[in-house]
């Protein structure tokens, strides 16, 4: 299994950094998460654990709560109830049916453990590609400029963005922008990388460029949670597929189990609908 392979073959930086995770704790663990917007429940008792090196694809119909789940995991949204930990670092725990969040220092530490790739890239438009990638390592992590730049150049190469170093986002295609945003997230050495529909703003040609890069990361055993509508991609890149509907995890398992032999009626309906 990929999860085991990752223990030996994970990226060097992740292995060096994740002392807390070395003992087999899940990289991220969400338990009994609930979240409502006003009166409308959007997440109803979601439990999801992701192991080191695992690639999890989340699929489901629009409005099912996939983005909200990622936003809770990345601390952009507060859960109403439930708990959240990053490899033993407890960010929120359930206290009598309410989520109680840890202090600021813990939250800041947790933020350094994940990265998020947005559907709309959200690059910083006034900075060139290099600055977009280097700035957070320098400003947030205080790493030396030369080191951050050397690493950024390496990421530019891995993302197939050579020649774009000095371009600003508006000069790039959507696919290139999305790859910059992946590089920006990777430069922070996260333990887990979240993607929220990374290709849904792209045409098929650009989509395949971005999926290729994500596939490459999966081969290097980067831990990833990917919300996607690309079923074929989910099928060949994910270790586990999670189908969400109306704020619940309806079904999960290997891509084969969920996408080819779903047991739940709602999963079947969703897949049938998506195929026509």
């Amino acid at each position: 299994m990929r999860a085991n392979a990752a223990q030996q073959a994970g990226p060097a930086d992740a292995a060096a950094k994740g002392q807390g995770a070395a003992d087999g704790l899940p990289v991220v663990s969400l338990c009994h998460v609930r979240k409502s917007f006003g009166e409308v429940p959007v997440l109803r008792d979601i439990t999801l654990e992701v192991q080191r090196g695992e690639v999890v694809a989340i699929i489901g119909a629009s409005g099912g709560g996939k983005s909200t789940l990622l936003r809770c995991a990345t601390l952009l949204e507060r859960m109403d109830a439930g708990s959240l930990s990053y490899a033993g670092l407890e960010v929120a725990r359930d206290e009598g049916g309410r989520a109680a969040y840890a202090d600021k220092a813990t939250v800041r530490e947790a933020r350094s453990r994940f990265g998020l790739v947005f559907q709309g890239y959200n690059l910083f438009p006034h900075w060139d590609v290099m600055r977009n990638i280097c700035d957070a390592p320098e400003t947030v992590q205080g790493r030396p400029k030369e080191e951050a730049e050397a690493e950024a150049r390496e990421l530019v190469r891995r993302m197939g963005l050579e020649g774009c170093e000095r371009k600003v986002p508006c000069e790039l295609s959507g696919g290139q922008q999305q790859r910059v945003s992946i590089a920006r997230a990777l430069a922070m050495h996260p333990d887990v990388l979240y993607f929220d529909e990374p290709t849904s703003a792209l045409d098929p040609q650009l989509t395949s460029e971005v999926l290729k890069v994500i596939r490459g990361l999966a081969e290097e055993h980067m831990t990833m949670v990917i919300v996607t509508h690309e079923m074929a991609f989910a099928r060949d890149v994910a270790d586990r597929v999670v189908f969400m509907d109306e704020g619940r995890i309806v079904e999960e398992g290997t891509p084969e189990q969920v996408l080819v032999h779903p047991t739940q009626e709602r999963t079947r309906a969703f897949l049938a609908h998506g195929k026509d």
Binding site: R111, S112, H126
Partner: protein
């Protein structure tokens, strides 16, 4: 009176106009940022106070504000006015008046920055002030430059309001010469000097806009 004497008197007055102009920018540009932030503060009474302040500054004539600030120390605190008080009152009035206008422009600029920029910064671990200084503010500057340009040009012309309180800037000087020499020439010269100053400022702003043209959203 020779034209040369006239011009040198006018330029003397113009120095005062320029001083009002420069001091107002130096004071109001940063003060406006603070007011804009306070106006959007989560501390409700502070936000309300700023709303009222901005509303009064924009809703009453700058000339009245100058007089109010000039006489306030005497009527409120019984402090004796001295010859320097007028100058101080003019500069203070200009700064707090323009800070209010600038604050509203900054606010509209800050609010036009998409939420996604804040969210990306938050996930990357930037602190609130790092996000503001490094990510939000540079983008705001580009967005508000045209509106700020208008205000700055208005400011040059507004310096003539100091005339009403008896500070001898260029317009007062021109008027004094017109009255004593019975000629309209000083007004013509003054108009020319205002226009040339604004032409210079417009060119500087255009150059700045051009420099920031290297990206768009």
């Amino acid at each position: 009176m020779t034209i040369q004497t006239m011009l040198s008197m006018l330029f003397g007055g113009f120095q005062t106009s320029l001083a009002i102009f420069a001091l107002t920018l130096v004071g109001a540009l940063p003060l406006g940022v603070l007011v804009a932030l306070a106006r959007q503060s989560r501390i409700k009474p502070l936000a309300w106070l700023m709303r009222i302040y901005i509303s009064i500054m924009r809703g009453t004539p700058l000339m009245l504000q100058m007089f109010a600030i000039y006489f306030a120390p005497y009527y409120v605190f019984g402090i004796q006015l001295n010859p320097g008080s007028k100058w101080t009152a003019v500069v203070v009035a200009f700064i707090i008046n323009y800070a209010a206008y600038f604050a509203e422009i900054y606010r509209s600029g800050i609010q036009s920055i998409p939420r996604g920029q804040y969210e990306a910064a938050e996930v990357l671990g930037y602190t609130g002030s790092q996000t503001f200084v490094r990510i939000v503010l540079p983008q705001v500057v580009k967005r508000i430059l045209p509106a700020m340009g208008n205000e700055v040009i208005t400011l040059i012309k507004d310096t003539s309001l100091a005339f009403s309180i008896g500070v001898a800037e260029m317009f007062s000087t021109a008027r004094a010469i017109v009255a004593s020499q019975v000629t309209m020439l000083p007004f013509l010269f003054a108009a020319g000097i205002y226009w040339v100053s604004n032409f210079v400022i417009e060119s500087l702003l255009a150059a700045l806009e051009h420099r920031l043209d290297y990206y768009h959203e």
